[in-house]
């Protein structure tokens, strides 16, 4: 399919295709970061992760509506406020969920799957009852929907760059929190042995609540960012769940670096294959490869080696 | 024929390292039939790792483990067990959900393949054997109790019983009396004396009193290497052992 094109054409396609891969990488990573905390660190199989993303998306929608209605002058900037609000809203709902449900299930991790499945049904219905079953259109400031023309043939979408920037920022913040702050140590201690963490004086309840809230909040940010490239409807969250879990599992649940590496390899493989094969076949091939590798490295790419 | 004199287990130049750290370092030793050998050594010397290597739980970086003429390093865990090596873990691991009887029955070496297990029937011989073993491990009155309800020491015995019923040629016990009371330790020592007959026992233990009671020969490990080997008397008085292990 590449014959008959000028070198220039091919070069610019190559640049744009690399960038498409980078955007996909950011999308995957952003989806996965929240789950890497909630599932990877806490072991909660949160089937409502997608719904938390959509919660962030709806927050963005409400924000865009309010700004368009009452503060049109500031509309160009509303998105950044929306991202922060998405974090707060999703995080708060997450903390409420932890308090009301999840904390009773830490000893039964598989049951969190069932309970959060119920939660996801309820959240979907809440979205539907509040915003209607139809998709809502999140209007974005014009400048964000444009592209940056590197050359006549190379256009880099600005919203893609914003997604990449948000992903980068969130990744750095989470990395700092988990690995460079005392709070991260407390989180890891609690996740490895909740009782013992309490016995060395860590307020496990607070750590649990904030950790879960953080994971959900990050999901909310992901949802807010995805309004730039995807749709917002009550059930849109379900689309993300398999990919997200796979990214986290593939990376090895305990390590953030693993999640990053896994998001990177899966997205690059997808984006390259998609260029040469149909979308379906690209997905199938990537999934099968991931399954194959997981089989050989059952604890994921970057599992920490600790003796059994 | 020399078979009679061949050692039961022969470990040669065995090494394993974890991320560059050599936990077992070019280790060689041999174990005769009918011998109770105790491995002692400082915490972190690599004792548990040696057992892990023999029973296939950890794969060696290099070296060989010969058991009755078979190379163990290439076998799967369950094949090593079937070859006649039994392993008791450091913390008692029994099936808490099952009765003592069932714990022993599961360990009985028949019905080990999927379909044999499916059509396995309890017969007189098996029941007899279970009774026999349960007496040996002081649990003949507890056959119908759930393993979860046993005391710590009883669980340790049960696990030993689960190995015995497989009639292994080599029995490996990792700290069998840890957490036992004085009197339980005494009874465990008796138990070990009784079960050797035709088999060999490899024990790891820190309780010197207990070691003294049971050991035919003691091997001292330090940083993955043997630093002393011989009778308890010999080892006890070895200044290197006193220095790194026993203390003054």
């Amino acid at each position: 399919m590449l014959s008959g094109y000028s070198f220039n054409d091919l070069a610019s396609i190559f640049v744009m295709q690399s960038f498409a891969g980078l955007i996909l990488f950011s999308v995957f990573l952003l989806m996965a970061l929240g789950l890497a905390i909630v599932f990877g660190q806490m072991g909660v199989i949160n089937m409502a992760h997608g719904e938390f993303m959509i919660l962030g998306a709806y927050t963005t929608y409400v924000c865009s509506y309010i700004f368009a209605q009452w503060m049109p002058a500031l509309f160009g900037l509303y998105f950044f406020i929306a991202v922060i609000l998405a974090f707060i809203v999703a995080g708060t709902v997450g903390m409420f969920l932890e308090w009301s449900l999840i904390r009773f299930l830490y000893k039964r991790p598989l049951d969190t799957l069932l309970a959060t499945w119920g939660v996801s049904l309820i959240l979907q219905q809440i979205f539907r009852s509040t915003f209607g079953a139809r998709e809502v259109g999140v209007t974005l400031p014009d400048w964000m929907m444009g592209s940056w023309n590197l050359s006549e043939t190379i256009q880099i979408p600005i919203n893609g760059m914003i997604v990449i920037a948000i992903t980068l920022l969130i990744t750095i913040v989470i990395y700092g929190l988990l690995y460079k702050s005392g709070w991260g140590k407390q989180v890891r201690a609690v996740m490895q042995n909740r009782t013992m963490a309490g016995d060395v004086g860590i307020n496990t309840e607070r750590v649990d609540r904030f950790t879960f809230g953080l994971g959900c909040g990050v999901a909310g940010v992901a949802g807010a960012a995805f309004t730039m490239i995807g749709s917002t409807s009550p059930t849109a969250g379900q689309q993300y769940i398999v990919d997200t879990f796979l990214v986290v599992a593939f990376g090895g649940t305990e390590s953030l670096g693993g999640t990053i590496a896994s998001a990177f390899s899966i997205s690059q493989a997808r984006s390259i294959l998609e260029f040469f094969l149909s979308g379906s076949m690209a997905q199938v091939l990537v999934l099968l490869t991931v399954i194959g590798i997981l089989m050989l490295r059952p604890q994921g790419l970057f599992a920490l080696k600790v003796r059994r | 024929m020399t078979i009679q004199n061949d050692p039961l287990l022969s470990v040669e130049n065995l090494s394993v390292s974890f991320d560059g750290f050599k936990a077992v370092d070019d280790l060689s030793f041999q174990l005769e039939k009918g011998e109770i050998r105790v491995i002692i050594g400082p915490n972190g010397a690599g004792k548990t790792t040696v057992l892990d290597l023999i029973c296939g739980r950890t794969k060696a970086t290099s070296g060989s483990i010969q058991f009755e003429g078979r190379e163990l390093t290439r076998l799967k865990e369950y094949d090593i067990v079937r070859a006649g090596v039994g392993r008791k873990f450091q913390t008692p691991s029994v099936y808490e959900d099952l009765t003592v009887f069932e714990n022993l029955e599961i360990s009985y070496p028949s019905g080990r393949s999927v379909f044999e297990a499916l059509f396995f029937r309890r017969n007189k011989e098996i029941v007899h054997r279970i009774k026999e073993i349960s007496e040996m491990i002081f649990l003949d009155k507890q056959l119908d109790r759930k393993a979860a309800d046993l005391s710590h020491g009883q669980k340790q015995w049960l696990e030993i019983g689960m190995l015995l019923i497989q009639d292994p040629a080599l029995l490996m016990l990792d700290e069998p009396v840890a957490g036992m009371t004085v009197s339980e330790r005494v009874r465990t020592a008796e138990l070990l004396q009784r079960i050797i007959q035709s088999r060999s026992v490899l024990v790891i233990e820190h309780d010197m009193g207990f070691v003294e009671k049971i050991a035919h020969r003691v091997t001292v490990l330090h940083q993955g290497r043997i630093i002393s080997d011989g009778s308890m008397e010999h080892v006890k008085n070895d200044p290197k052992v006193v220095e790194v292990y026993l203390g003054h």
């Binding site: 005392g182 016995d199 | 010397a45 548990t48 450091q90 339980e184 292990y245 026993l246």
Partner: protein, 247 residues
Amino acid sequence: MDTKSDNDVMNIPALGTPLLDVRGLHVAYGASEVLHGVDLQIGHGEIVVLMGRNGMGKTTLMKSLIGNLPIREGSIFLDGKQITYLPAYKRVEVGLAYVPQGRMIFPTMTVKENIETGLFVRREKSVPENLYDIFPVLREMGSRRGGNLSGGQQQQLAIARALATRPKVLLLDEPTEGIQPSIILEMAHTLKKIRDNSGLSIMVSEQVLSFALDIADRILVIEGGNIVHQTTKANVDVDLLTRFLSV
């Protein structure tokens, strides 16, 4: 208070306010009650050894003191504060520390991080050097993952982690289990040194009589969920103790 003096059992109430004061403690697993009204006092700077056969409730007592098991009846006071209904981390704040049987190291955290988990409760930043002086092996292995340590190394780590919380009372559940003889010898010495330096009180559960005799100011025997015998070290009747400890 002069902790070196021989306190007669009968005098204990006269110690003044004990540091840890446990009264009428009943603890149960579901329907089956394991502790049937334990009374127990530990004075300032005192080392108490709790002995008893397997399954007699030593671990249960320790766990209920630190707050890992709900208390059915009774009360616990630490340094005059009622802690009966506090969650574990608050008890640590008040001054209890616990080294569980089986150590419970955080397996994927490094040795240093494991110790650091004990610092949060006092809002401290770095590991006190004297901990490394007591357990030099921990300095050596600082960046190794806790789960990869050998049993004995983990035991030392667990004690260091507990000490990092700067407790008033340290609870040790069978600390000699799986420890090499020379370290056991040292441990008795070390624990006494810690007690002398920082003035904390220690309660140790133990099966090994020699170690108990080595370290104890006072020995308690628990049986069937009750304290059935207490004696100061001076008055120890070894035969009697041995009888308690054998079946």
